[in-house]
Assembly symmetry: C2
Homo-oligomer: 256 residues x 2
Amino acid sequence: MGRVIAIANQKGGVGKTTTAINLGAALALAGHPTLLIDLDPQGNTSSGVGIDKNHVDVTVYQCLLGLQPAEKAIVPTQLSNLYLFPATVDLIGAEIELVFLEEREKRLCRALNGVHDRFEYVLIDSPPSLGLLTLNALTAANGVLIPLQCEFFALEGLTQLLRTIRRIKQNLNPDLSIEGVLLTMFDVRTLLSQQVADEVRRHFEGTVFTTVIPRTVRLSEAPSHGLPILLYDPRSRGAQAYRTLAEELLDHATQG
Amino acid sequence: MGRVIAIANQKGGVGKTTTAINLGAALALAGHPTLLIDLDPQGNTSSGVGIDKNHVDVTVYQCLLGLQPAEKAIVPTQLSNLYLFPATVDLIGAEIELVFLEEREKRLCRALNGVHDRFEYVLIDSPPSLGLLTLNALTAANGVLIPLQCEFFALEGLTQLLRTIRRIKQNLNPDLSIEGVLLTMFDVRTLLSQQVADEVRRHFEGTVFTTVIPRTVRLSEAPSHGLPILLYDPRSRGAQAYRTLAEELLDHATQG
Ligand SMILES: Nc1ncnc2c1ncn2[C@@H]1O[C@H](COP(=O)(O)OP(=O)(O)OP(=O)(O)O)[C@@H](O)[C@H]1O
Ligand SMILES: Nc1ncnc2c1ncn2[C@@H]1O[C@H](COP(=O)(O)OP(=O)(O)OP(=O)(O)O)[C@@H](O)[C@H]1O
Ligand SMILES: [Mg+2]
Ligand SMILES: [Mg+2]
């Protein structure tokens, strides 16, 4: 039974999609069958791994509404151990439509039943909000990985996010735990990055990944080629950082 | 009667808040009374201008639900011509609660009745989604300013955003027009920035602001001091860029 990890933070542009794609690729290249779920209507994870969203048969949206089984929605990617549950534009309407459904927070959890036996890891890329799509991700997950950009505004939303995680854990998903806080876009040249990193490590002692993702141009170029950084530029600092993150995550699992 | 401009893009982290704060400050310093409305539950605009969100009497949320008049929610900032309609955590619940209200997209428009006569410009900072809060901003606005980060993923969401703007214009707000697309976080050292900028100018001929906001560390440092860049470092490239943007906006208005 695979470990389901929601990659979530309602602050926008902090590296959720970049982490989903590249951590997923690193786990797959290390031999662990991994499923990426794109729960963001923008579908950046889908295009970041080179999938054409206009030629998708069954979408996450149809599975959330129970119209199609999840197996039918899963497509292969360029990496043999990496699969994708693609998002499409119809997901935009889902936030409002889900409000009226029964067990609206558990739709993803139900859709995944039976699917996660095929994978060792399932990574869910969520949209930048605390709406019903992100609540579905948190309800279906065993752990939450919180990417945190090393900038001032990124600190602000953390309390709200942690409060939401606690609420989901109490009411909907007692299994939910924090996998860790991941510092992203760390810029060695600025004092601000160091200050934010120090503050986060002080507040979240013990839950911050040792691996820090540096701000590098190669990471922001890779998606325009539809490739994870590990295929686009395997020797880059970005690729190395995500490999190290995958190793750290695998260590967590063995320590239990 | 002031001009109401929604600053919107569902892609996260593209510079919506940074543009609201600093364009607002530049307009205010040029002598134009300006109101900033923080419609994002994260409340980054509020803290970016140094307002303590825990000591706010009346919030945007109460005004959206019609519980309080907007005049009571408006607070002064460090700049004499710049005022703020602060956001607070209770705004998180608004997205779901608004779904059940009548005229749910027009709540902000109604709350602003009579308020915008006091201001020449009203800038609305929206959250990174196309949910009911952003729809309220688009329904209350005369124009939409679209900040666009010069990166690959930022291009992806544009078609969805333009489709939503067209829908609002047809069904809810015939006045709505595109004020312009603003290129942000432009990094002269990378090819990617130049490629994205060229592609945007080709697609959106005539609606892209001539002013381009450069990626500068000073811009990301300013909010940690609760100050717009024009007060934090008035001679910086970021301050100069937002002054030029304000002039360009004012020119638009005189040309009509
Ligand atoms: N470490 C990094 N170095 C440089 N650029 C990065 C890095 N991580 C992400 N980026 C770029 O920064 C932008 C934001 O990252 P990304 O889209 O992954 O964030 P997100 O949290 O998924 O955004 P959203 O909130 O819109 O879903 C993207 O253009 C991405 O390519
Ligand atoms: N031109 C710039 N140069 C450098 N950093 C910038 C620039 N503009 C914004 N930033 C920083 O980038 C981050 C994202 O910007 P900002 O928060 O304004 O975007 P946003 O679109 O409002 O994000 P969200 O989608 O979460 O509301 C912030 O940490 C901000 O300080
Ligand atoms: Mg994303
Ligand atoms: Mg913002």
